[in-house]
Symmetry: none
Subunit: 228 residues, 2 copies
DNA sequence: AATCGACGTGAAAAAATCGTTAAATCCCTA
DNA sequence: TAGGGATTTAACGATTTTTTCACGTCGATT
């Protein structure tokens, strides 16, 4: 992760640089608004820590020009001693992702850096994984051993639940309620769906993942040892 | 935009509710941790404002369980009177997107809500891009492979949402709510709009970007791998 | 071993979803 | 008030999903 720190106070700059580097980030710095703008536009950073009080162009101008002129959406955390409400509002409305008031603890800066980065990288990637079976909860895409698998909505719901609970056993009633709520269909329909799910995720592969515990429920796991 | 406010103090709750509603958000609320957790898991919200001091499960527990158990990445803004450094760090590290200390100005809450929403949808830039399809949110201008495309307002709304969420799958209900709010028209009208959108952005080009996932929703993406 | 209930399998019927088209209605402006 | 674009409604066929059902298998209990 590459971070650009734009700050004119040499003491603060040195502290921030050291701390962020110690946390494993690659950090560059600029001491005034214009060189900061230039670096930001060319340097391919993942996040910018931006002081408001700067020689040259101030932080608001830097932020505004980054958003409007260069059309970048690099996350920006503004940092400043100015803590009036209007200042904070201005910073946030102009396109900053967060606004931190000096003096601040370096640990808090790092925590906010991580929070913003987490969000800017697509929210953390909501994926479930059991053995070589992967379910992407956003794309609703399933694959096993790299092979894409097509599932209908019911099977997808079942698989989601089973993967979330894995390696626990999920009772029939839980699965039925997930599919139909309170009033299930007349026939014992879950069997058919489980069958479809098995066809899709287990049949084409060597080791089955979906196991039946007679009278108890179903369980999705790799290391399944039958009691015997 | 749907927001869930989890807060037990009735005065603060009323203020926050009124203010956010006046800004055009659809707001629900919960007064304790458990019902908040339940609403959050089922209610399809775009953001959660979460008080730390709560009866039932406290805010940290709610946040943690949302991130770990239910695997949601709904943006969370924590709000609390506890402003010690450790409290703030805990909130951010546990998966909150922002941490706001009481007492706060409603305007600042709204600004931070918007900053977080901006980031959580498509990244804050005013230009959305999916493959060679480009949407300028300021000029409301759409083009693909350099060719300008004219869209009516409905299709524009649909495309905006789909691009913001890309490459995630957007369920029908989300699209319908974006177009009509709570009371959609009688007939299944989304199909017609999707058709129009396809005519505009896909038909004149070689590779389609808008894909249907039967029973699940629609997905705008370039690399769409569907199992045979 | 016999039996009963729970489970697996496959096929076919029923229902839901979807793409497409055309006509009707609404809304704004000239 | 007429015209044009936007939106809504309706209908059709095609496809997919869900449900139902019949029958065979397995496991536990007697």
């Amino acid at each position: 992760m590459r971070i650009l720190v734009i700050e004119d106070d040499p003491d603060i700059l040195a502290n921030v640089l050291d701390y962020l580097q110690s946390r494993g980030y690659v950090v560059d710095c600029a001491r005034d608004g214009l060189s900061g703008l230039h670096l930001a536009a060319t340097g391919n950073y993942d996040l910018i820590v931006l002081d408001v009080i700067l020689p040259g162009a101030d932080g608001y101008q830097v932020c505004k020009r980054l958003r409007e002129d260069t059309h970048t959406n690099i996350p920006i955390i503004m940092v400043t001693a100015r803590d009036s409400l209007d200042d904070r509002l201005k910073g946030l409305q102009i396109g900053a992702d967060d606004y931190l008031v000096k003096p601040f603890a370096l640990a808090e800066l790092a925590a906010r850096v991580e929070a913003v980065l987490r969000r800017s990288r697509g929210g953390g990637g909501r994926v479930l994984k059991v053995a070589d079976l992967i379910l992407d909860l956003d794309k609703l895409h399933v694959s096993r051993a790299g092979v894409p698998i097509k599932l209908n909505p019911s099977c997808l719901k079942l698989l989601t639940l089973l993967m979330q609970k894995s390696p626990a056993v999920v009772p029939r009633e839980t699965l039925e309620e997930a599919l139909w709520g309170d009033n299930f269909p007349d026939s014992d329909n879950l069997r058919a769906h489980i069958h479809l799910l098995r066809q899709a995720i287990d049949k084409p592969f060597a080791v089955p993942l979906l196991h039946t515990l007679h009278g108890l429920g179903y369980c999705l796991t790799e290391n399944f040892r039958h009691a015997g």
